[in-house]
Structure formats: structure tokens, C-alpha cells
């Protein structure tokens, strides 16, 4: 049967390069060895649904790990429209599952309402902050991960032009954009970033068209934060011979020759950790920030396309960010004010 039994995606979207030890155990741990935890965890996707190659899939993978390791039961509700979010939350809450994940910042207001309505229900939200004791807010420093791939892009480009394709002009996506731009600037002050928004997370054909145009305008490395639209980018890269940078998970399996590297955002890790805290009985509300410092975001290169020099540079910046040596911009204003620090 569908999601309940099968993995939502092939394990192709492998864990990031800097795989954590849990990952290793996840694959080994045979279910029968573990004492089965009698818990049900529910996840609600946004309208993108499962198969979005982005946070919905990634979140579902987090639950998959919990299922494999602890034998919990996972359930999913895919939202047909934005006004399903609230009712989907309440129907899970009413079913008294052990925790309800809302994947996406658009759950923000409806989750605040649901959390108030069901004070004893545990909730978690991805990519947004809901201030309530029974809600764990799982957020990511996308700007930091994007900064690193920006550095790599800046070093890779030979035309001094790189591209960025965003899904929609959400503040969240702008975090990718400006983090990336800052990284490019840090590595290559002469490089220009061409930026387009597809106004879609689905229209792969449009993604390909935009990528083609950016490439014609001279861009030879293009990064995307646009879900399915990015598939079009990778196709274009493969056909026309330039570099694409993947997002969220390692996307090199789509085109090992043409995906330079991927910016990693470990939604699965966030979901996993919060789920684990529920199992262990130490669930806590509040903000759970996943950043470079705790390996929640980063970059990966499963296909091995990066040069040592590039890896070295990226690692240098990564260390600096992890120690808080400087703050990566996440909005246009912050980017405009951004001075590349001496590291």
C-alpha cells in the first residue's frame, strides 16, 4: 500500500555527506530487535504533498527513521488546499496521536489556533515559530547552508555569472537567495547573481526554461530553491552542460555529472529529533533551530564533483559560521549591508 508501507522516496536522496551516526544505525537497526514503541505520529503536508522532492518528503523520511528504529506508526494527511490546514490539524488532534507535525510555515496561524484548542496535544511545525508550550518549532538556518553553496558557486564560475531560481517570493525562499548571494560575494566579489522566481514549486518545464535563459545570459552555475521546478534546472544543466546546485537533499542522483553539490536542509533530522524527544518523554516546546552549528544545514557532494580547494574553502566558512564569527544575511536589507568578513 501507499505511504504507510513504502518509503516515500527512494533512499537515493541519501543523507548528507557528513552523515551522522544515527543514520548508520537507522539502516542497520532491525525492527524486531527494538522494543516496539506503541506510538502514532502524524504528519500533515502542505499543498505540495508527498513527492515534492523537498521538505514534505524529507519530513516523511524523518518519520520513516522513527518507524524503523522504534516501531512507531506514522500517518500522513496531504492537504488539498490552504484551508485544509486547520481541519487537518484538528482531525489528527482529535485522533489523539502522540505528535502532529505541520510541514511548512503556512501552518503557522492554524497551528497556533489548534495548539490553543488542544492544550494537551503535542505539535511540531517546520520552518516557522509558534509560541506555545505544546508546539516545537523546527526552524533552519537556510541562509547558512546557502552561503556555503554560494561560496562554492562563486569559486566555480568561469563567467563570473551565477544563477538563482526561487519557487515563490516567500521570505523563506529569500533566505536561500540572500544567503547564497552573500556566499558568492564572499568567494568572488566580481561575480554577478541572476535571480528569477518561477512562481511555482511544480512547473518543471518553466524551471528548465528559466535555467536555459539564465545560462544564455552567461550563468554557468545555477542554484535553486524551487522544489520540482529545480528538476527542470538539472535537466537543462545536463543538456546544455553547466552546473546545477541541488537543494534540501543531495540531488546528485538525478545527474551525477551536472549536480555540482547540494545545499542540505535536514528536515528529516528535525522531525526525527523532536519525535525522539516524544518517545523519550522529554518533549519540549519552543524553538529548535537547526543550523550549521548543529549540522542541521550544510552542503553535500555525494557525486564527488568538488575540488579539494573548494571543499577547503567551504569548510573554512562553515567553521566560521559555526563559531558565530559572523552572521549570514537572510533578507535583502541584510544582504545590502553585508560586508564580507576576513576569515
Amino acid at each position: 500500500s501507499k505511504p504507510a508501507a513504502e518509503p516515500a522516496t527512494e533512499p537515493a536522496a541519501e543523507p548528507a555527506a557528513e552523515a551522522t551516526t544515527e543514520d548508520a544505525t537507522a539502516e542497520e537497526a532491525p525492527a524486531e530487535d527494538t522494543a516496539k514503541v506503541d506510538m502514532v505520529m502524524g504528519m500533515i503536508t502542505d499543498t505540495g504533498g508527498l513527492g515534492d522532492q523537498s521538505f514534505n518528503d524529507s519530513g516523511w523520511m524523518g518519520l520513516e527513521r522513527l518507524e524503523a528504529e522504534y516501531g512507531i506508526e506514522r500517518k500522513v494527511l496531504e492537504s488539498e488546499s490552504a484551508d485544509d490546514y486547520g481541519p487537518n490539524l484538528t482531525s489528527f488532534a482529535e485522533a489523539e496521536v502522540d505528535i502532529v507535525y505541520g510541514v511548512g510555515f503556512l501552518f503557522n496561524e492554524s497551528m497556533a489556533a489548534a495548539a490553543a484548542q488542544f492544550p494537551n496535544q503535542k505539535f511540531a511545525i517546520i520552518d516557522s515559530v509558534v509560541e506555545a508550550d505544546n508546539v516545537a518549532s523546527i526552524t533552519f538556518a537556510e541562509n547558512e547552508g546557502s552561503f556555503l553553496v554560494g561560496v562554492i558557486a562563486g569559486m566555480t564560475t568561469e563567467t563570473n555569472k551565477v544563477g538563482f531560481i526561487g519557487g515563490m517570493k516567500f521570505p523563506l525562499i529569500e533566505k536561500f537567495e540572500y544567503g547564497f548571494k552573500a556566499g558568492v560575494k564572499a568567494a568572488n566579489p566580481d561575480a554577478e547573481v541572476i535571480s528569477n522566481y518561477a512562481d511555482s514549486f511544480e512547473d518543471a518545464a518553466k524551471g528548465k526554461e528559466i535555467a536555459t535563459v539564465q545560462h544564455q545570459q552567461g550563468a554557468d552555475v545555477i542554484f535553486h530553491a524551487a522544489g520540482g521546478v529545480g528538476i527542470g534546472l538539472i535537466q537543462a544543466a545536463e543538456e546544455q552542460g553547466f552546473w546545477a546546485i541541488g537543494v534540501d537533499q543531495d540531488q546528485s542522483h538525478i545527474s551525477p555529472e551536472r549536480v555540482l553539490c547540494s545545499m542540505i536542509k535536514r528536515v528529516d533530522e528535525g522531525v526525527y529529533q523532536v519525535g525522539q524527544s516524544v518517545i523519550d518523554g522529554n518533549f519540549e516546546g519552543g524553538v529548535h533551530l537547526f543550523s550549521i552549528a548543529n549540522e542541521g544545514v550544510g552542503y553535500s557532494d555525494n557525486a564527488g564533483n568538488l575540488t579539494e580547494e573548494q571543499v577547503a574553502a567551504a569548510e573554512k566558512w562553515k567553521a566560521a559560521i559555526a563559531t558565530g564569527a559572523f552572521v549570514v544575511p537572510q533578507t535583502e536589507a541584510e544582504f545590502n549591508a553585508f560586508e564580507v568578513p576576513e576569515i
Partner: protein, 312 residues
């Protein structure tokens, strides 16, 4: 500037291609008196089955053929409902749209065990065919051809062929007669049902081809939501082109062009316009063009009306 211009043209042609096939399909059915609102659904079917076929065959052209056949079969259902059962054509089409979206998602799940998208397939039809590689050597224009896919050429050819069929053959005369005045056609021995069925089948095959041109012709895979309204835009294009094959072709090109311009906005110095307004551009331009230039579009008189033998 010339480079940008050529890039925009190439872009427009690529973006217009799926629309052209589907719009031609719409022209055929509407001309014969059947409203095919199911183009969207049939495109989804075509896009999906083209990729599914690639699981079994290696020749992409066979996959294209499969898409066309699946499109035609889906259309057959519409034809059966609309022509034989005299069902409301819009209802039947809407049903097919709902069904196609769910059915492909369901099959995707069954075959690839995941939702969202299929695997990518090898040797798709996303590049300028090698037999036409010489075109790329033409100075200046060469870059235009290098960006075209076989589907683009097909779309142009099919537009011409459709025009010929519709206006230069006995069958075309019959199609138009059946759409205008089915009883008149019936009384001179034209089989109204058969003509309509054939046209619906043609439109299904064309919409299937439109779907294949999206999946096999752009991203080598099927994604849910990849058709996202293109079937409806194609219907609009057919109306815009006044149900004339070449008119529909031009209308699709117009849509493609406005979208291409929107993508190129930055290099055209339009980057300061908020992206949403650039997104609106194709649609606003269409409304203005309709209101200002094109005006009255008189539909084939019997379009949408089931024909019943032995009734008046």
C-alpha cells in the same frame, strides 16, 4: 539585442509547443460540435503514459505513439459519453479531468512506489534532432535551432496539416458542416456521429501528444501538476484563434511569447516590475487583445449540442 531576441523566440516556441498540440485538438472537436474541456486531463494522461512506456521500450517515438493512443482512448470515453449518450459535454470533460489527475497519481504510486514524480528516462526528445543539426550552423539563426526540440517542428507541421485537413479536404468540409448544422450534414448522408467520434479521437491523440511533449520533451519525467492548467490555456488559445488551426497556432505562440518575455524581463530592462505583474502579462495581454482587436468569436453553431438522429 539580437541574441536576446532569438533567445526569446526559441523560448516562445518551446513554451508554445504543448499548447499548440492541445489547441489544435480543441479546434478539431469544437469544429465538429463537441466541447472538449477534458484536454487538461488527456494531457496529463499523455504525459504520464509517455514516461510509463519508456519503462518498456527504448525508442522515445514509440512512447510518443503510446501517449497519443492513450490520449485517443481517453477521448473515446468522452466521445462515448458526449456523442452516444448525449451527456452534457462539459460534465463529461470535467469528470475526465478529475479522473485523469487521480488515476495518474495512483498509477505513479503503484509503479514507482512513490508520489510526486517518476524516474527520469534516458534518450528523451529534449534536443534538436541530429538530422536537423545542420540548421544550427546557420549564422545568427543557428542558436535558435539549437534550442528547439523535435516537438517544436512537429507542432509547426501539425498546424499546417490541420489547416489543410480542415479547409482543403472533403473530410474537413464535413467536419465544419457537422459543427455548424449537423442535421444538414446528416440529410446528405454524412455520418454525424462518426465525424464527431473521429474528431474527438484526433483531439485526444493531439492532447496526448501535447502531454508527451511536456514530459518527454522537456524534463524527461512525469511530475504531478506538470500540466497545471495548460489544457485550459489551450482551449482559450483555440477560441482566441477563432477555431482556425493557424489562428490557434498564432494564439499559442502569442502565449509563449508573452511568457518568454516575462522570463527575459530582466535582460529587457523590465526587472523593476514586481514579478507578479510580469506573471500576469500573458493573461492581461490576451484579454486586451481580445477586447481590442479580435472581438467577437462566433463559435461553431452546434458546438456543445448533442446530436440526436430523428429529432428536430
Amino acid at each position: 539585442m539580437l541574441v536576446i531576441f532569438i533567445a526569446i523566440i526559441a523560448s516562445a516556441l518551446r513554451l508554445a509547443t504543448p499548447l499548440i498540440f492541445a489547441a489544435l485538438g480543441s479546434v478539431f472537436t469544437e469544429r465538429s460540435g463537441v466541447v472538449n474541456i477534458a484536454l487538461e486531463g488527456i494531457m496529463i494522461m499523455g504525459a504520464f503514459f509517455a514516461i510509463l512506456a519508456m519503462e518498456f521500450v527504448s525508442n522515445p517515438w514509440i512512447a510518443v505513439l503510446v501517449a497519443m493512443i492513450v490520449g485517443a482512448i481517453t477521448a473515446l470515453l468522452l466521445g462515448f459519453l458526449a456523442i452516444n449518450l448525449k451527456a452534457n459535454q462539459v460534465v463529461a470533460g470535467t469528470a475526465i479531468n478529475i479522473l485523469a489527475g487521480s488515476l495518474t497519481a495512483f498509477l505513479l504510486e503503484m509503479v514507482w512506489h512513490r508520489s510526486g514524480q517518476t524516474d527520469t528516462v534516458a534518450n528523451a526528445l529534449t534536443k534538436n534532432p541530429e538530422t536537423l543539426a545542420f540548421l544550427e550552423k546557420i549564422p545568427v539563426l543557428g542558436s535558435l535551432f539549437s534550442g528547439l526540440t523535435p516537438f517544436v517542428y512537429l507542432a509547426i507541421i501539425f498546424s499546417g496539416v490541420s489547416y489543410y485537413v480542415m479547409y482543403k479536404t472533403p473530410f474537413g468540409l464535413r467536419i465544419r458542416a457537422v459543427g455548424e448544422h449537423p442535421r444538414a450534414a446528416d440529410t446528405v448522408g454524412v455520418n454525424v456521429y462518426r465525424v464527431r467520434h473521429i474528431c474527438v479521437l484526433i483531439s485526444g491523440a493531439l492532447a496526448g501528444l501535447a502531454g508527451a511533449s511536456l514530459s518527454l520533451g522537456t524534463v524527461n519525467m512525469f511530475r504531478e501538476g506538470m500540466v497545471s492548467g495548460k489544457g485550459f490555456i489551450a482551449i482559450a488559445a483555440a477560441i482566441f484563434g477563432k477555431w482556425h488551426p493557424l489562428g490557434a497556432f498564432a494564439a499559442c505562440l502569442f502565449f509563449g511569447l508573452t511568457e518568454a518575455i516575462q522570463i527575459q524581463a530582466a535582460s529587457l530592462g523590465l526587472g523593476w516590475i514586481p514579478s507578479e505583474f510580469l506573471q500576469m502579462l500573458p493573461y492581461i495581454a490576451t484579454v486586451l487583445a481580445l477586447a481590442g482587436l479580435v472581438g467577437r468569436a462566433v463559435a461553431p453553431a452546434a458546438s456543445g449540442e448533442p446530436y440526436e438522429k430523428g429529432h428536430r
